[in-house]
Assembly symmetry: C2
Homo-oligomer: 218 residues x 2
């Protein structure tokens, strides 16, 4: 297909496609005439992956290049590639080492939910500790106290995600779905959390203020 | 307190505090000597709120100013302020109007979970439709099919959030917790979702490849 069709299939503007090729995130098309280049289904898949990482995940180009190198390395088996990717996807910003108390709080949560085996040094554990530190600085300890509700919901979503991955047929498809699902799944969940907020807060706070005959506490 | 203590209490560098004052996001301290300015507990609270919006929520300064104006408007009752804030927090980027099919898919999910009363025109409904459109473009329809699992988890988290809000004692505290909790709660959930991913994918994919005597399908 020509670049225009590739653009239409993926929603990525042609100028952006050319930029990704220059940056080495996408291989160039096959030159079939001196002024015409042809792209295939492999380009569609790779472009979707790049778009998810750059636009939805807001990852820097250098980080995207690093992630793609993992996907493209045939020596990596699936389990090892998934491990490397989960580390890479966690460090969207280089957090300073978390406070020991925050790391301890993160490990306590992880321990209660069977996630502690990866240890306190894993970047994702540090990422959780980092959020806990922010909650503390923002005066929102109440949310740390409710971590188990969040953890239970996270397990439901994660089980769904892994079932989706396991339904894929080949190694590259598993890795691509894992990467895309990780970054866009956050936005998918966040959008629904906000819809639920609106419905629940409308019931609770409106009832308190305007409708004393309505029951607010369910 | 002096600006150094305000900085230590909130984790915001003094240069950044001065920048927020210049941008009108934080009122200046009280001048107690010609070369000394004093800040109070109100500044600590407001600075935490600004930090959550700017750093964790990555919202532009103009949007933060708009949100603070809502919090500070005494004519707004709680329910109306929550409604305006939920709209403002949803539009982190100005999405083009979603495709009708995507909006229909969003409304169908909302309908099944009791969130459809706000209608298809609500910015949060459009935000969900926008994510669905992205999932489709990225070839991840499998995740749309699993929306109900996500929605069930979103309800658990949202109920926890609203209980936390309802435990607050005054209007400003409710609004501040709502804003901070919305932006940082996404990161809190995402960190735990990733921990669950690692644990579950380790069990499923490692077992398949390396440990045939281990059970992978539970």
């Amino acid at each position: 297909m020509r670049i225009g069709e590739l653009s239409a299939r993926t929603g990525v503007p042609t100028a952006t496609i050319k930029y990704y090729v220059r940056e080495g995130l996408l291989s160039g098309g096959e030159r079939i005439r001196h002024n015409q280049v042809s792209y295939g289904e492999g380009h569609v898949r790779r472009l979707r992956l790049v778009r998810a990482l750059v636009e939805t995940g807001s990852l820097p180009i250098a980080k995207v290049r690093e992630i793609l190198a993992e996907v493209d390395d045939p020596r990596r088996d699936l389990d090892s590639a998934l491990g490397v990717l989960s580390r890479a996807l966690g460090r969207t910003r280089e957090a300073a080492d978390p406070e020991p108390a925050d790391l301890e709080a993160a490990m306590a949560i992880a321990d209660r939910h069977g996630w502690a085996a990866m240890g306190a040094e894993h970047p994702q554990m540090k990422a959780l500790a980092d959020v806990i530190g922010t909650l503390r600085l923002l005066g929102l300890e109440a949310l740390i106290d409710r971590a188990d509700d969040y953890a239970g919901a996270a397990r439901i979503v994660a089980e769904t995600d892994i079932e989706m991955l396991a339904a894929q047929t080949d190694r590259d498809a598993v890795l691509e779905s894992m990467i895309i699902g990780t970054v866009i799944g956050d936005a998918f969940f966040a959008a629904m959390r906000r819809l639920a907020h609106i419905e629940l807060s409308g019931r609770r706070f409106k009832a308190h203020e305007n409708s004393p005959d309505d029951t607010a506490d369910d």
